[in-house]
């Protein structure tokens, strides 16, 4: 191999190859050591995790991300109800246009005339 032949001749490359080889062996040994280990949750792990999930789930439901879609539903309902009311009102008004109220002053006018007359008589 050209590479290894060069590394044997070149001091710098030889040193670098040796260092790389040692690093690889060190990493391999560490990996093997970890891969041999057995991992199992501690007795309290599940309890701690469950408690954490429960605690975090509460504020999670109150965040904007969750609150906005919920609010959006209510807003849609209110908007629909408001629109329906407006439409009903508009329809009712167009069908029966409001008549100006006629005020009858006759009685009251007569009454005031009689009142004036009474005082004038005196």
């Amino acid at each position: 191999m050209h590479g290894s032949a060069h590394a044997q001749r070149c001091e710098a490359c030889g040193e670098a190859t040796q260092q790389t080889d040692l690093i690889h062996r060190l990493l391999r040994q560490r990996a093997d050591q970890i891969n041999r280990q057995k991992f199992a949750p501690s007795p309290y792990f599940m309890a701690k995790l469950t408690a954490r999930l429960r605690t975090e789930a509460e504020p999670y439901l109150l965040t904007w991300e969750h609150a906005v879609p919920a609010l959006r539903g209510w807003m849609l309902t209110f908007s629909a109800a408001a629109a329906l009311l407006l439409m009903t009102a508009a329809f009712t008004l167009s069908a029966n246009p409001a008549q100006p109220e006629e005020h009858v002053f006759t009685a009251s006018t007569n009454e005031s005339q009689q009142h004036d007359a009474f005082w004038l008589e005196d």
């Binding site: 970890i34 991992f39 949750p41 995790l49």
Partner: protein, 224 residues
Amino acid sequence: MSLATFDEKLNFPVLATAAGVPPEVHQDDVLVEAVLKGQTHLFETLVEKYFPRVARIARHFFRSTELTEDIVQDTFAKAYFSLHTYRQGASFEHWLARIAVNNCYDELRRKKKRNEIFISDVTEEDATWLDNKLAQTNAAISVTPEDAQITDAVTERLLGGLGAEERVIITLLHLQDYSVKEIAQMLGWSEAKVKIRAFRARHSLRRTLKRLTLTDQRIAQKAR
């Protein structure tokens, strides 16, 4: 946990396995669906099943048992709250591993920011061991399990000299044997970025090793 207990816990008929989906993946998908439908207690089954896998990933990054357990807990909590983003039919194990790796990466970055990772001076014993190893001819370099304590300390110092990005790459490539493509997918990086970071990381490791052996020479000089 046996599959029979699995089905008993589910309380609803197990769906027929979709074509091309391995049974293992299918079982996980059924569990995920059940959790999403409100049978949250079934998440415990997924935790029990994948605890060793997630713990091993965290352990490759951190030596501390407490920190490892914190990372594992954090990983499962994140998985639980983002369970709706899991794509049915994909591997739940890979999805979870991705969360775990990103968690470890975040922790490495936090530690770097707080300057918690530093290279302490090597002990005389470690330095002598290193020097002896490097003095051997290339073919003869061997790291025996008997050297475990020293090799562990030296490896930790070597990895401690890396930046968060470099460390995550070296750990995934050389300790966990992931491919460049898999790492790119996990971290959301391009394959080119992974290769460049790996190259820099190896260079950085060699530089640190050299520094450690130079420290050895300094110790020897002091002794004289």
